[in-house]
Symmetry: C2
Subunit: 491 residues, 2 copies
């Protein structure tokens, strides 16, 4: 791994970062979207992407150029930046996608990397093997070995100051994804795409996607820039960023538009089903769906592409602002309610809360408790770990959701989903949390787990728990020796 990426600020495993792309002479702010440019068919030109949407980086397919009768010579003579008329960073894919789709391609890693270098690509890509989900372990291991040979080859090719992608494969085997991440980091290459996730996204397998990304991230160093290859739907950007992805590429904005499909951060709509545009972008504030339906195909495609780009870039700004403010997980909570499969994805992310906790800032904007899922956030994991280092003074301790009491040597506060804490911590993050009037069972259960952790670390201390009518599932999780006092019953 090289030293081209710098993180400015974290939230969970999401981060605001800067990717230095030396050959382009630009620094790309991440998370970033790379619109996919089809060199033969530009509904939205790279110049428009740059001026209207603020695109700092895009991606195109070098294999298409390599095999193109009309474009190969021009691109070799002019170079990519001139051909595309784009001054930002240009990433080139290698034909791996075509390999996955059609079974074979006519180019080696050496040839395509050399070609990418010659045409002026800023970040090139070797020919890796994008192993689909659910194949046999044998196939996944075999194809990963091939991918890893290609990375070794790529590291040998003379590519000057062009950066090179080191894709992380391994199908749905998370141990292979982790090992692949660790191997890729040793390759001497620069940027780390998590590959072959498109089939998972097409089938709404967001939980599997989260597990695969978390696995790759465990293998990679924290500071590695990660590209989620082929991920272009804004509904999952927040989830993927929170897991630690920095770069996304979208062919979807154009492909969907060609098919009259309209993206939102919650779903995909078909133009014919829309009576109103659920959006405030420049396209949707100046047209009605009926007007757009009445246009010819080219104009319709252009407007829908523009909308799809506006919503995608808008979501990335929303995510960046959330990281800056420290409420990225609150945004993921909201996005998780777009589709049950997105909820599965959020729950899978929370399975990795301890992993996300490592980069999550100690203090952020107010913690919002928004659902039973909030009880599994990294901040709750951290508070429970912290309980191991907190010592109550005295022999008898009251842990209470209500007022203190003189009968005890010490009184601690008690707040679901965190659990108990000394009163002097009450003004610190996350214990200043905004909470609903009533919690869900998982929040009480998480608080009970915190109590159990504290109690078991202090075998000689007597604990009394004054709770506001906790459910049985929480009370059952407490050690027997904790005295219980129901504040609601005591009223």
């Amino acid at each position: 791994m090289t030293d081209v990426f710098e993180v400015d600020r974290y939230d969970a495993a999401g981060r605001l970062g800067e990717l230095e792309v030396p050959r382009a002479g630009v620094t790309v702010e991440t998370p970033a979207l790379l619109p996919v440019i089809n060199p033969h068919l530009q509904t939205i030109t790279p110049a428009q992407l740059e001026s209207e949407f603020g695109a700092e980086i895009l991606i195109t397919n070098s294999y298409v150029l390599y095999g193109s009768e009309d474009l190969r010579e021009p691109v070799e003579q002019q170079g990519l930046h001139d051909l595309l008329d784009f001054s930002g960073a240009v990433v080139t894919d290698s034909g791996s996608f075509q390999l996955a789709e059609y079974g074979q391609i006519d180019v080696t890693t050496e040839e395509i990397l050399d070609f990418q270098h010659r045409i002026g690509s800023d970040i090139g890509t070797p020919v890796d093997i994008p192993t689909p989900p659910d194949v046999s372990r044998e196939q996944a291991e075999g194809e990963l070995a091939t991918t890893q040979e290609r990375l070794a080859t790529a590291a040998e090719v003379e590519t000057g100051d062009m950066l090179v992608n080191a894709p992380v494969q391994g199908s749905t085997y998370t141990d292979l994804r982790e090992a692949a991440g660790a191997h890729a980091a040793q390759s001497g290459l620069d940027v780390f795409p998590v590959g072959a996730v498109v089939p998972m996204m097409n089938e709404y397998r967001y939980a599997d996607l989260a597990d695969v990304v978390a696995a790759a991230k465990r293998g990679l160093p924290e500071s590695a820039p990660v590209h989620l290859f082929g991920a272009g739907h804004p509904m999952m950007f927040a989830l993927a960023v929170a897991l630690g992805c920095d770069l996304f590429d979208s062919a979807a904005y154009a492909i969907y538009a060609r098919d009259d499909r309209y993206m939102t951060v919650r779903t995909t709509e078909h133009l014919e089903d829309l009576d109103y545009f659920p959006c405030s972008c420049p396209v949707c504030t100046s047209h009605t769906p009926a007007e757009v339906r009445s246009l010819d195909a080219d104009e319709r495609e252009r407007l829908l592409s523009e909308h799809n780009l506006h919503v995608s870039y808008g979501e990335l700004r929303t995510i960046k602002q959330a990281i800056r403010r420290g409420d990225l997980l609150e945004l993921v909570e909201a996005r998780a309610r777009g589709h049950p499969a997105m909820l599965d994805g959020y729950r899978a992310l929370l399975d990795h809360a301890a992993q996300l906790e490592r980069t999550d800032p100690v203090s952020k904007d107010t913690f919002f408790h928004l659902s039973g899922e909030s009880a599994r956030r990294p901040e709750v994991v951290r508070h429970h770990q912290r309980l191991d280092r907190l010592d109550p003074r005295g022999d008898s301790v009251l842990l209470t959701e209500g007022n203190g009491h003189d009968d005890f040597d010490e009184c601690w506060n008690l707040l679901p989903p965190f659990g108990p804490f000394p009163r002097e911590l009450a003004d610190g993050y996350p214990l200043t949390a905004e909470t609903p009037e009533r919690f869900e069972a998982p929040a009480y259960e998480a608080a009970a787990a915190g109590v159990a952790r504290l109690v078991s670390a202090h075998p000689d201390t007597e604990f009394t728990l004054a709770h506001d009518d906790w459910p049985a599932s929480a009370l059952d999780a407490l050690p027997e020796r904790v005295d219980l006092w129901n504040l609601r019953g005591a009223e």
Copy 2:
């Protein structure tokens, strides 16, 4: 009540409707936003609201005009539409807000309604008493009696084809709000504002707000057009529409802008805290926060007002599209994750699920199960009611989350949160629901309640429940005589 409002389509208690405003000669599509126009200070002109934002209706304060040295004569001569340069419907408020703020005003209901009529208002308002939350019952009853006298007076004033608002008061006493709704409907007036909710919104008391609106709606006829007076933050539009509100007015778009505050559908941000605009409106796609900060106060106010309006109108389009499609409650789910108090509001809405069920369509777009709260949606209430009318055939019945079994006379499906149903209903709404991989306890508990309802209606039938590892809280809710079979254990 008069016959000026027609509902086209429901979703929960939300509806797409048409309000006929005869004096303006226009039909206003609802849900609708009424921007508040300060006649002395127009950052965004009514003409711009009409041409750029598609405003069909706005509201201004007749009491301000009545007391204005420089505007009273012009408005009496030109009329409101000319003075404001607006061809849509113009609603006039009466000074009740000033009454609430400053304790007294210098005008009677007769005088202000006559003035409103003379200046050409399309919908006028009597001087009601906006009783704040949490006052004594005596005060709430006394002030409600005064408001009701004013409505009777208003019904006597000669106002031609101007429509007249009949505000519904009653503070936080839901029985008073319900009685006030029933009384207002008898007044012979036309549009029904739920009044004095601004203090609740300012304190994020969205649960109380939901209870108050639901109570007023119980008193009003289903077909009454309802205005949520003073409600201008897009974060709560979806919730309020789902409860059955049709009209909103926003002074907030301008007041917030003056104070450098920036609205989103999830929250309010201060311009100085924004590094990125979390929005894709025409303002936010063509400026950065830093650029807007550097502008002079007037220009900043104009741009922030425009953004606030774009996000507000965009949210109304999102809501209208959701009603058209039948996923308004899915939208409310997502919006509920903006703030814990919004979650309280959503939960309070679900307390009224049986009330919302009465207008909820029998068939809509696929039901998305998105949280423990989804288990309390009107569709679940309706399915449980339907179980009273469904008769299993034979003496032994298997209710199963898995496959059928020949040992039983009949096999029914079993799906949280709905519960059991005959297989022939499996293709109908809502039983085609999209669900997450794993449910929360409330979904299993709701399914168990459905089972209990079916079982108790058939005392002579033997029931066996084949469940996928339900939690104790659900199994405990089943009648003792149900045989249990854990499909996970049987694997």
